[in-house]
C-alpha cells in the first residue's frame, strides 16, 4: 500500500516542480543557468513558498541553497556589515554586530516564524515594494554582492532595485551577500513601521539614517520609504534638506513633508493615499528624531 500523502499535509498543493540541493554557490549558479528563468533559488522560502502554494508561482525547478557552507555569517569588515545569503532575519535581530536602522528594522520583519527562516538577501532580491529591508538599504547606501559564472560584482542598492518585483541580476547570478556601510563617526538610524498586525506587510514604513559632523550638523542623511510607491523609494529631497543643517524638530517636520510629497501611495484596503502621506510625514519625523538622538548618544 502506498503511503497516504495526506500525512504530509494535503492542503499545500503546489504544481509539480523539480528540486535540487546545491552544495556550492558555483553549483547553484550552474543549476540556475541550466534551468533558465523558470528556475528559482530557495533560501528561506517565506515569499516563494506561499506563492507556490497558491499557484501564483509555478517554477519548474527549485535550487535549494540552504546547504551551502559559509553563507550564514554576519560580520564587520572594512567599515561594512557583511550579511551572507543565508543569514535569517532572526539572526540579524539577535546579532550584537548590527546597529542603527538595521537593528531597528530587524524585529519588525514579519513575525517570529518568518524571521526564523526568511533571509535578508532573499527579501532584498525579491524587490517587493512592501518589503522592509530595501528601504533600510537605500537609507544606509548598501551594496548587493552578486555572483555569476564570471565571478562577483557589487551593485549599488539604488541600481539593484529596478522595479516592482524586479532586480538587476542577470539570469545566472545569485545574491551572495549584502554589504551595509557602518560609519566610523557619530551616526544613528531608525525604522518606523505601521502594520495592521504582526506578520503583515508595512502599511507605511520609513527608514532614516543620519551621520553627524563634528559641529553637530548633519553630514549625511538617508531616508527611504516602504509600501508607498511601486518600489522602495528614496526621499532624495528630504535628504537634501537635512544635510548641512543642525537636527531640530522643525527641520525633521520639513523633511517629513518632503518625504510625504515624494511618496506615491495608493488607496487600498489598508487605508487612503491621503492618510498614508500623512503617516509618511509623521514617521519620517519620528525616525529622524530617533536617529538623531542615537547619533548624539
Amino acid at each position: 500500500m502506498c503511503a497516504d500523502r495526506d500525512e504530509w499535509g494535503s492542503r499545500m498543493l503546489p504544481a509539480q516542480f523539480d528540486y535540487i540541493a546545491a552544495a556550492s554557490v558555483e553549483e547553484a549558479i550552474a543549476a540556475k543557468a541550466e534551468g533558465g528563468d523558470e528556475t528559482r533559488f530557495l533560501a528561506g522560502g517565506q515569499s516563494l513558498l506561499p506563492m507556490m502554494k497558491l499557484r501564483f508561482a509555478t517554477p519548474s525547478k527549485l535550487v535549494d541553497i540552504n546547504r551551502i557552507a559559509g553563507l550564514d555569517a554576519i560580520r564587520s569588515h572594512n567599515g561594512h556589515l557583511h550579511v551572507g545569503a543565508l543569514v535569517r532575519h532572526a539572526d540579524i535581530a539577535a546579532s550584537g554586530a548590527v546597529s542603527g536602522a538595521v537593528a531597528s528594522a530587524a524585529p519588525w520583519i514579519s513575525d517570529p516564524l518568518v524571521r526564523n527562516l526568511g533571509t535578508l538577501c532573499g527579501s532584498v532580491a525579491h524587490c517587493d515594494p512592501e518589503g522592509d529591508w530595501n528601504s533600510v538599504l537605500l537609507a544606509t547606501g548598501a551594496e548587493v554582492v552578486a555572483q555569476g559564472p564570471s565571478g562577483r560584482r557589487a551593485i549599488d542598492i539604488g541600481d539593484f532595485v529596478q522595479d516592482f518585483f524586479t532586480n538587476s541580476l542577470a539570469e545566472d547570478e545569485m545574491v551572495v551577500a549584502v554589504h551595509i556601510p557602518v560609519p566610523s563617526g557619530r551616526s544613528g538610524g531608525s525604522y518606523q513601521k505601521l502594520e495592521r498586525k504582526v506578520g503583515d506587510y508595512a502599511t507605511v514604513g520609513v527608514a532614516a539614517h543620519l551621520e553627524l559632523a563634528a559641529d553637530g550638523t548633519i553630514s549625511a542623511a538617508g531616508v527611504a520609504m516602504t509600501s508607498v510607491a511601486p518600489i522602495n523609494r528614496k526621499a532624495t529631497e528630504a535628504e537634501a534638506l537635512l544635510v548641512g543643517n543642525a537636527p531640530s524638530a522643525e527641520l525633521f517636520a520639513e523633511a517629513g513633508a518632503a518625504a510625504a510629497a515624494a511618496a506615491d501611495p495608493r488607496d487600498d484596503v489598508r487605508g487612503s493615499a491621503r492618510w498614508k502621506r500623512q503617516v509618511v510625514a509623521a514617521f519620517t519625523g519620528r525616525a529622524l528624531a530617533a536617529a538623531a538622538e542615537q547619533a548624539q548618544g
Partner: protein, 785 residues
Amino acid sequence: MTDTTTTPPEIGGIGHSVKRVEDARLIEGQGNFLDDIALPGMLHMALVRSPVAHARINGIDTEAATAVDGVLAVVTGELMDQHGLAWMPTLSGDTQAVLATDKVRYQGQEVAAVIATDPYAAADGAELVDVDYEMLDAITTPQQSLADGAELIRDEKEDQTDNLAYTWETGDEAATEAAFAAADRVVSLTTHYPRSHPAPLETCGIVADVNSVTGQATIYMTSQAPHAHRTLFALVAGLPEQNIRIVSPDIGGGFGNKVPIYPGYVVATAASLLIGQPVKWVETRTGNLISTGFGRDYYMTGELALTNDGRIQAMRVDMLSDQGAFYSDAQPTRYRAGLFHVCTGSYDFPHAHIKCRGAFTNKAPGGVAYRCSFRITEASYLIERLMQTAADELGIDPAELRLRNFIQPEQFPYETATGFVYDSGDYPTALRKALDAAGYEELRAEQAAAREEGRLVGIGIAHFTEAVGAGPAHTYDIAGLKMIDSAELRVHPTGKAILKLGVKTQGQGHETTFAQIVAEETGIPATDIKVIHGDTDDTPYGLGTYASRSTPVGGAATAMVARKIADKARHIAAHLLEAAPEDIERTADKFHVAGSPDQAVSIQDAAFAAYTNLPEGMEYGLEDVTYYNPPNLTFPYGSYVVVVDVDPDTGVWKVRRMVALDDCGVRINPMIVEGQIHGGLTEGFAMSSMQWITFDDDGNCIGSNFMDYLIPTAWETPRFELLETVTPSPHHPIGAKGIGESATVGSPAAFVNAVVDALAHLGVRNIDMPVLPDRVWEAIDTATA
C-alpha cells in the same frame, strides 16, 4: 470570584475549574480531525470555483482535466442535475446552487469538482477545467442591488422580479411613530456592521463513504449539528435516515461556520455514491474564506426618541442586509433576520418598531451567526452605539444615560417592546462594578486634562443583553426541526458513566463541562464520566452546538437526565439501607438515611446494585435519556469598559484597559468560562479594529487569505481584566445561561465607543468598523478642518 461549589474537588462538580480533559490529546497531536481520516480506497476531491462574481456559463470543457493522470471524474452541474442535485434548499427556505449550471453569482462559487486518486492530481485537474464565462456586471452592495434597473441576480427563480431576498418587521409601528412625534429629542445613527468571517482554524471538509451494496452512508463531516445534518441529508438526498451516519470528529473551531450544509459536502457524497469509493474533500483556506458562511453585513439606521433628561421613549430601526447570492442564513424559521429584534438592549422603554430587508448581491451567501445567537451581535452593536450617540448629543455622561434607562432588577421577568421575556438580571450593579474597577471618575478627569494638552483619550462603555439557548419548541425551529436537545446517561456496574449528547463541541470543552454537571447531580466523579458526542449512530438527537445553546439546552438535558439517574439510585440506596426512599438524603457523593450519616451507600454501590440487587419490581440498569424543551431563552449580559489612547498624527489607537464584566448565571467551569470570554473579546477586538471581508467593484473578494483577512495575534490583543456577577437563570435547572458568544456580541461596541468618545469633543459621532487608523485620522481631519 464567586465560589459556587457544593462538591469536593475529587468529585469536581459545578464551580470547579477542572482542567479540560480534551486538551491532553489535542496538545499531544492525538486528536482525530477530519483531515486525519483515511479510508481504504479513498479518493480526493478538489473544487473548481468561479474566478468572477457574475457571469453566464456558456460551457465547461473537462477534457484536459480528465486526461490528468490520476483523475477519475469531473463532476459538473449538468451531472448533478441528472440526479436532481444541482440545487439544494438553504436553512432560510431559499435554494442554493450546488454546482452552477446557468450562471455563477459570486466569486468562489462551486462550478465543478475533480475526483482523483490523490489530492495533487485533483488540484492539477481542477486547474485544467476550462469554463467559458460570459461576464455580467457585478452587484456588490444591497443599495445597488435594490436600485431601479439593477440586473436580476436570481433570474432562475420564478416570481422573483427584483433582488429583494426578504422583508420582515416587528413591533408596534403606530405607537412607535406616536412616541417619536411626541419626543423632546430624536437621536439617529446610521452604521454598517461589515462582513466578517468566522475563519475557524480548521476549514470545512468531508469524507463521504457510501457503500454501494448496503446503501449505508457514513459521512465524516466538520459539523456543528450532526443530527440536524443527518435529517437534512435524508430529506434532501432522499436517503433512508437509518442508513445515514454522520460522524463529526474533533473540530478545529466552528463559530457558526460549520452549521450550514455546503455544496462540497453534497458533491462529495454524490461522488462517493456514484463511484462506490470513499471521497474526501477538505476545503482550502481561500475556499473557506470566499465561499462559506460569513457573518454580519448589516446596514442599520437606528433612532431613539428621548426626553430632554435622557429617558428613552421608543426605538425605530431600518435595516438592510447584504445576503449574497443566496438567502441561506442559519436561523429560526419564524425570524427572517435572526434575533436582531433584541436590539432594544438592556433598556426599559415601551415602544419599538424594527423594519428589515435583505438583498441579493454577487457575494458569497451565508449569514451565519458568527459566534453569535442569530444576529444578536448586530443588534447589540446598534443599541450600544446609539446609546453613545445619544449621550454625546444630549450631553449626558454615557454611563449615567444607561443607568437612567436600565431595566431594573425588580422588573424581571421583563417583556421587551419586541416580545422577548428577559429571565433575570441586575444591570445597574454590573455596570457600577465595571466602572469602579476601571476607575471611571478618574478616567474622565484624566480625559479632560489630556484634551487640554492635545492628547486623545477615550472611554467606551457597552452594556449588552444576549438572548441565547434557542429554544422553546413552540417558537424555535430550523428548517422545521424543533430546537430541543438531549442527553443520555449510562452508569456502568462499577459506577463509571458514559454521557451521550445531542450537542457537539468544536473546542468549547463539552467533554469536561458536561461531566461536571453529571458529577454535581449524581456524585460520580467527573473523571469517571466519558462524554460521547458527534456520532449520530451513538448519540441521542439534538440540534447541535451554536447560538450559545449547548449549556442552556444540552446542559439542561444533562442535568435532568442526571437527576433521573440520581433518583433511581436513591431508590436503590433505600433498598440497600432498608429504609424508605423518602428518608434517603444525598450528599455530594453518598446516599444516607436522614439523620444517620453513617448509614450510607455510595453512588458506586447503588450502581452495582442496579445490575445485581434491586428492589422488587424495579427494572435493571442505571441509564436514561432526556429530551429538553427549554421554557424560554436565557439572557446573559455584561458591562464592558474600554480605555483607548489615540495618536492624532496617524489615527492609530491602542487599548490601554479592557474591563469585562460578564454575568452568565451559574458558571459550571469558571476556567473554561474565562477562556470563552478571552476568545470572544479577542474576536470583538478583531472586528472592531482590523477584520473585514470587503470586495472591489468587480466583486473580487479582498480577504481571501490570512494575509488580507486579519486574525489578531497575542501581540495586538489587549490585556483583559475580567469581572463577574452571578444572576442565575430562574428557569434553567442549574441556573446557567451560556457564555460562548457574549464577549463577541458585547465588545465591538465598547471598542468603537471608546474611539468615538476620544473624538466626541471634536463633533465626531461615528466611525464604522473596522475602525482603521485612516478612518480615525480622516474623522479628526474632517472635524478639525
